[in-house]
Symmetry: C2
Subunit: 207 residues, 2 copies
């Protein structure tokens, strides 16, 4: 039921689907479009996936799980709150920049899931938000009171990071390292008034 060959073909399907969803939107995309894009017949798609919504769920679930795993790896053993935040941001933006289509689908089609699918993805989002809020709390503890409401700060940071699918081109003249460094400075400078030197930022792709 779950052979390696099957897994690989499902992966191909998910990648193609993410690309089309990202370009035209989930509801605008038909199963016939996905069949064409993945080289499988329309009915064949249903051998790998139970429904269109499950396809969307799998894209969101797998990529969010990867972001979460990357975050845990990047934070492991790091105790300095500033560096923890820098690694959190770096992991997020790095994954985003290397999986633009999938992450656009995750950010933009959040409201398209329903029922149990929605529930599971929402749970992951809560875990992720909680992780950031905890880092912010540590940060306040070591660097004095914040200049800004913690919740506003957290969602502002998510806004900065998740909005990039609207403008960022990974192949353009702004590299991922610069982007990550800039977002980190922007946030830290405003949140705890920290003038961030290069030294404090993590080595690129540290996790």
């Amino acid at each position: 039921m779950a052979s390696p060959a099957r897994d690989q073909k499902l992966e191909t399907l998910l990648t193609a689907a993410a690309r089309v969803f990202a370009k035209h939107g989930y509801h605008q995309t038909s199963m016939r479009d996905l069949a064409r894009a993945s080289g499988i017949s329309l009915a064949g798609v249903y051998y790998y996936v139970q429904s269109k919504e499950e396809l969307l769920y799998l894209i969101q679930q797998r990529n969010f799980a990867a972001v979460l795993a990357g975050m845990h790896a990047a934070l492991a053993g790091v105790t300095n709150p500033v560096e923890r935040l820098a690694r959190f941001i770096d992991n997020h933006l790095d994954y985003f920049a290397t999986h633009m289509a999938e992450m656009k689908v995750l950010s933009h089609e959040a409201g398209a899931l329903t029922g149990e699918y929605l529930h599971r993805v929402t749970d992951m989002k809560h875990e992720y938000t909680r992780a950031l809020m905890d880092i912010l709390a540590e940060l306040e503890h070591t660097h004095g009171p914040a200049h800004v409401n913690r919740r506003v700060a957290a969602y502002s940071l998510f806004g900065m990071m998740n909005w990039i699918y609207n403008w960022y081109d990974p192949l353009g003249d702004v590299g991922v390292e610069l982007l990550s460094q800039n977002v980190c400075r922007l946030f830290l400078g405003g949140y705890v008034g920290l003038p961030v030197s290069d030294a404090v930022l993590p080595q690129p792709a540290a996790g």
Copy 2:
């Protein structure tokens, strides 16, 4: 062809449509849904509007025009770059918070327009982006070199501000003034390292 009565009924239709679009998404919403929500028959909707896409365009165009007009009014006569930026942010968030449904449609359904409709809205966005970039340039001139790439900074700010439809509740315990002040501090602190005191921020609803 354009009586006051007709104008008012169109306004009602647009308001109802924005509410439904914001809740369920543009493509997910049928013209039958809109007819039901606005109390007009399905065919009657087409007396006021040529197509579903024109309906979306009118919502986006009218509200973006209002944001632009508010911005010009808020900036008129203000020369201090810090205050200009503060007023820019305040105008944006104030309008967003008081027109959540319309602004969610503007932010989230940007990719649903095509052809000439898309072109016109895109032009307005360019004008708006240009206005922010100009303020940032002034800011660098008066407050020294920026800590962050200007383009990254501009889109990060838009990200912070436009993401709020994903989490912000205008009726919750975070008021618009606090939100606006917080975003302003967050951005200015990181962009030019300015510890923003309350005094420098504009009076609420100054424009």
